[in-house]
Symmetry: C2
Subunit: 350 residues, 2 copies
């Protein structure tokens, strides 16, 4: 019963009476092996229960059969974001059925990030990477190219990129939210946005401004770092200012929940006094009181497509671009008709 070491191609070769090289050719189904030899080799391999050593394979073909995901956010922000778990599940759906493995690196943003990519490339720990949270003039695109890694980007970078990309039109999601509010009679709305240097955050903000404008609504934008704390602060600034908006469109659910908390704290009733929409359609949102109206994207599908695209790139397919289904707006209880007359501001204290 002792765990004897695995059979190698040398064992198979000996048993079949041929050389190691020929065994490799036969096992990989390559031409140049006589039918008789091939059968003998395959039989020998089966009898010995041979399977290739991934490490030896990895050494000789120069691939690691692994893909990398470097998440450059603070743990707090990741923890609040339902995107990554679902996205990673989608990646796994594809990678695990392709004999690939996911190498995950969580880094605090900044210098560490570049070093992480360099280390992954230097040690050839991954064959390719998935680039998420694209930033304005994102240095990672050039870096990864220079390092000789394959890659796929989530969304199209704002500078030339040699990599395939997979996009979700989150602008459309915001558009749906704003149009929903327009139909409810809102004329003065605000957007609590993510960091301007994040491409998807600024895309959402732009869609907000454009759609509000198209419907003749006033549309203010406040920028945050995507955290609940800054989402709460932005909400407070909005609601305590003169002429507060009658609806707020948040760039993620996390801030929307914090904003809801602030509104309630200020004595407002949602959606009677203020309408609120989130983004992500967190599981939690539907259990709040009021349940959160939110933009839903299919992060898991996104992950699966991203993984598939990366594997194709590794197989030599030229760079392409894919668009996934548009996000949908899930209307629940946090949005309602615009209040008839503007609330008096500064009407309540904490």
């Amino acid at each position: 019963m002792a765990e004897t070491s695995r059979p190698t191609i040398a064992d198979v070769a000996r048993r079949a009476g041929v050389s190691k090289g020929l065994v490799s050719f036969a096992l990989n189904g390559r031409p140049g092996v006589s039918p008789a030899s091939r059968e003998r080799i395959l039989d020998a391999a089966r009898e010995l229960g041979w399977s290739p050593s991934l490490r030896a394979r990895s050494l000789s073909v120069g691939r690691s059969f692994a893909c990398g995901l470097v998440i450059g956010r603070s743990p707090d922000v990741i923890a609040a974001d339902p995107f990554f778990p679902s996205f990673i599940a989608g990646l796994e759906d594809v990678l695990s059925t392709s004999g690939q493995v996911l190498v995950l690196a969580a880094v605090t943003p900044g210098r560490h990030e570049e070093q992480t990519y360099r280390n992954l490339a230097h040690d050839k720990r991954v064959d390719g990477v998935i680039l998420t949270d694209l930033r304005v003039a994102d240095a990672r695109v050039g870096l990864v190219e220079e390092l000789g890694l394959a890659a796929v980007t989530l969304g199209v970078p704002d500078l030339a990129s040699p990599f395939s990309s997979v996009s979700v039109d989150d602008g459309a999601g915001i558009r749906h939210a704003v149009e929903h509010l327009a139909e409810l009679g809102h004329r003065d709305i605000a957007h609590v946005a993510g960091p301007e240097e994040m491409l998807h955050a600024s895309r959402r903000a732009r869609a907000f401004v454009e759609t509000a404008e198209a419907h003749g609504m006033r549309g203010r934008v406040l920028t945050t770092d995507f955290s609940a704390a800054e989402g709460a602060a932005a909400t407070r600034a909005l609601l305590e200012g003169d002429a507060p908006p009658t609806a707020i469109v948040y760039s993620n659910d996390h801030m929307a929940v914090a904003g809801l908390g602030i509104a309630q704290r200020l004595g407002l009733t949602v959606p009677r006094d203020l309408s609120i929409t989130g983004f992500d359609d967190t599981d939690l949102g539907r259990h709040l009181h009021p349940a959160l109206t939110s933009v839903a994207t299919d992060a898991r599908a996104w992950g699966a497509v991203a993984a598939r695209t990366l594997l194709e790139a590794l197989a030599g397919t030229p760079a392409t671009h894919l668009d996934l289904d548009e996000p949908t707006l899930v209307v629940r209880e946090s949005t309602g008709p615009a209040p008839r007359r503007p609330r008096r501001s500064r009407g309540s204290t904490v």
Copy 2:
């Protein structure tokens, strides 16, 4: 500028005028190399900018320099749980400074899980694994041992284990919560628990029952799957039943938030009519209205210690057990004095 292939020990050997074997000895600081040769070899390596090929090293020493984390929960439940991002950040804190890498596998619970461990071991993709979410009579302990992987468990398994473990006394966290409620005058409280087969969930439930009993309180326990949906359902059952409790202790923040939603939906004011405590101290909790009283654990520290312990196990240190700091109770606004007289039940509808 062409990316010329990296120097190998053969290059170093040639330059130093010695054999490959001796180079390896010198570079690894092993005895049996004359000072003169050693210096010549080190100089040559420095001049050539040599660094070892991880893959070749991996092949020859039979290690992968990677650790694995297999998460066996549905993406929804992971997404809601702030534990993993923080825990993973803690793992990275240690692994990244040790030249190790984290291989992450997200599997839907069930058969897939075992196969994932088998694959990781068969391909020797990881040297060791971190076992989280320990279950009653957890088959993974024996499986991982049989597969010849090193491991560290989060908490002590309920059956013999050859592995080191790192524990946080979450029972103490629940105790703090219950004692807090006792001081506030509550006499009839409930616990919305996680699955009985999960060791930490049942540990929390046991601590709840014991502490309630010790303080002469009535203490009911309802079991869920840790999801917001079941947390909400349990809360509804509690509040709509006869003689509802005056406080509910939840086994995670996610269910606590959902429970808060239900309470508000039923017309209750928290904490006037009902006190609520969570577990995890999610960032979101402090931004709710009312802000959530919750048990805080240091998941990041837990991850760091778990990684360090696993690395020690890989280095041959015999199995040990470590206890981390007790969780603390962060008192916010969702807990208050017990209502004077019991509310009338069935007093409101949705």
